[in-house]
């Protein structure tokens, strides 16, 4: 059963064009010029109940605009969408009881009050039965390990602690679809991992549909089974994440700190991207060699002090995708 169904959905914004300089600004006041910018250009897709979908694309590609239309915040210019059988923009209130949303750069917690107060507020806003709320709250506190922070004013919490509270607060009403807009932005590696694990557990145990946007390749790899890539408002890829990785995540980065001057490096399948006295950055083509083989090669003749292995940033994968789909196809 589809929990999200989108057909030819599009959104265009009318943007005032400002001309350069003081004279230009004055002219704009008297005779404003407008430009129509298409943020989302007739996209079609669906997601079944319980699916975890990564909705990807570079900045300005139309991801957030799509999420805002699917949550009913924005009205589309054309097309149709249905979330849990409701039209988001005409049945926003009805739908809001059944969906949850977390916008990574925004906060729903009351700044001067402890999270327990926001939780209480959420229980009232979503009109939860008292016993259901208390049971769910305790479950969320335990699962997200929030007990030490529940009575601390939000302003005193770290970003990671706050984010866990944000997500837990969004889950109190047991949403069937969870929209996550960059939920791990700005978090350290440990907190990111923890949040991913929690969202994954939620999806497994409660069958919540997860619709996620992120620039973090780790979020996509560890959380999502399917990826939809959007660029210039159009879908350019829609398939399993595994397939996307196989096709586009062909490079990984190895950052090395070595004890002595590394000298010339000739490692099959790897190229030196950056190099200083004791630091080397290698780009490893995983279609030609493995990370293990590349590291073994380096370690055979050099003493390594530190090593970091990184996935390529999402932008790099998308750039690679542009190459495959063709610039013309993506930007037209």
């Amino acid at each position: 059963m589809s929990s999200i169904r989108v057909e030819q959905l599009g959104k265009a914004f009318r943007i005032k064009k400002k001309q350069e300089g003081f004279a230009g600004s004055f002219k704009s006041l008297l005779k404003p010029l407008y430009e129509d910018k298409t943020a989302v250009d007739g996209i079609t897709f669906s997601a079944r109940q319980g699916e975890t979908v990564a909705f990807l694309g570079p900045n300005g590609a139309g991801k957030s605009t799509t999420i805002k239309m699917l949550t009913g915040i924005l009205h589309p210019t054309i097309g149709f969408a249905e979330v849990l059988g409701c039209c988001p923009w005409t049945e926003r209130t009805k739908l809001s009881y059944r969906i949850g949303s977390v916008f990574g750069q925004k906060s729903q917690l009351w700044y001067h009050l402890p999270p327990i107060d926001t939780f209480e507020l959420m229980s009232r806003i979503y009109e939860l039965r008292r016993s259901d709320y208390l049971q769910r709250r305790d479950e969320m506190i335990e699962r997200f390990e929030l007990a030490p922070y529940m009575n601390t004013p939000v302003r005193k919490l770290s970003l990671g602690e706050r984010m866990r509270c944000e997500i837990a607060a969004s889950l109190l009403h047991r949403p069937q679809v969870l929209f996550l807009d960059e939920p791990t932005i700005g978090l350290d590696v440990v907190v990111k991992q923890r949040i991913r694990r929690l969202i994954h557990e939620l999806n497994e145990q409660e069958g919540t549909t997860v619709f996620l946007t992120s620039h973090d390749a780790g979020d996509i790899e560890q959380l999502c089974e399917r990826a939809i890539v959007i660029n210039y408002g159009r879908i350019v890829f829609d398939d399993r994440v595994e397939l996307m990785k196989l096709r586009y995540m062909t490079h990984k980065t190895i950052r090395l700190v070595v004890a002595d001057d590394p000298g010339d490096m000739d490692i099959p399948g790897a190229t030196v991207v950056e190099r200083s006295e004791t630091k080397v950055v290698l780009s490893v083509d995983t279609s030609l060699t493995t990370i293990e083989a590349a590291l073994t090669n380096v370690m055979s003749s050099r003493r390594i002090i530190d090593v970091t292995i990184e996935d390529p940033p999402m932008e790099e994968i998308i750039t690679r995708m542009y190459g495959d789909f063709g610039e013309e196809d993506c930007s037209s």
Binding site: F13, S64, G72, L74, F103, Q108, R124, I125
Partner: protein
């Protein structure tokens, strides 16, 4: 969910806003000290005016004591009003409006509850401080039943002010910049709205204009109810406030329905 249940939801929002506002109590107190300056300036001004009128005991039916307490009340209400335009403009600019719209709460009602709770805290602080200053500088007011009606008239007045400000603030859904319009509105409220002096002191033509405007319902009616109470006119004055709440409320609902379709949420 029953209507009662829905009201309980908004009552809780009010309660949590009140708690959140307590963090700003020192800020309110400092802001309220502005009252001291205003009262001192107007004390001098009205003393000179009454003296210039040949030490008249009444001007347009108001004694010196009544006029000064009138000013205490209008200033206490004015300084209690949060800037709705600033708040909504910021919400639109930074995209927080999205979080409001994805919850099962009405955007306007949420802001009304938040506005009134904040105004209640601020008005309480201003009333205590203004009352103390008034007692020290002016002396006790002429007590009447009007002071018992003041909380209700002030609540209606704040509601009218919220509605008027909301019509301006919702323009942020189209133009993003609304503080300029708010500035002009506030200046009208200070003058023809009767913040500085009761409408009876205005020239006849201006009084006639003022009586047809909703601005009188914000400050003039609550302050007059308290300091120049006339039981026979009370129902009429409260009815004027209720009427404006209904009329402007309908306008707000109409603008909101149109604006929410036009809204362009920034961020992301």
């Amino acid at each position: 969910m029953t209507t009662l249940g829905k009201m309980a939801k908004y009552a809780f929002i009010g309660k949590i806003t009140l708690r959140n506002q307590l963090a700003y109590i020192i800020d309110f107190l400092i802001r309220s000290l502005f009252l001291l300056l205003i009262l001192y300036i107007f004390l001098q001004l009205w003393q000179a005016t009454f003296h210039g009128e040949g030490d008249a005991s009444l001007i347009a039916g108001y004694s010196f004591n009544q006029i000064m307490w009138y000013l205490v009340i209008t200033e206490a209400i004015t300084l209690a009003c949060p800037s709705l335009c600033t708040r909504i403009e910021e919400e639109v600019k930074n995209g927080d409006v999205g979080y409001r719209l994805v919850r099962p709460i009405h955007f306007v009602v949420f802001h009304y509850v938040e506005y009134m709770s904040e105004a209640a805290v601020r008005f309480g602080v201003n009333a205590v401080l203004g009352g103390t200053l008034g007692l020290l500088i002016i002396g006790p007011p002429e007590l009447s039943a009007g002071f018992l009606w003041l909380p209700l008239a002030a609540a209606f007045g704040l509601t009218v002010n919220f509605m008027l400000n909301m019509t301006l603030a919702l323009c942020a859904f189209w133009v993003e910049e609304t503080r300029g319009i708010e500035f002009v509105y506030n200046k009208f409220l200070f003058t023809i709205g009767g913040m500085l002096m009761p409408l009876e002191l205005f020239p006849d033509a201006l009084q006639a204009v003022g009586r047809w405007l909703p601005l009188q319902a914000v400050l003039y009616i609550p302050a007059k109810t308290a300091v120049a109470f006339d039981a026979s006119r009370l129902a009429g004055m409260l009815a004027v406030q209720v009427l404006w709440i209904a009329v402007i409320g309908l306008a707000v609902a109409w603008i909101y329905r149109r604006g929410v379709k036009k809204l362009n949420v920034n961020g992301g």
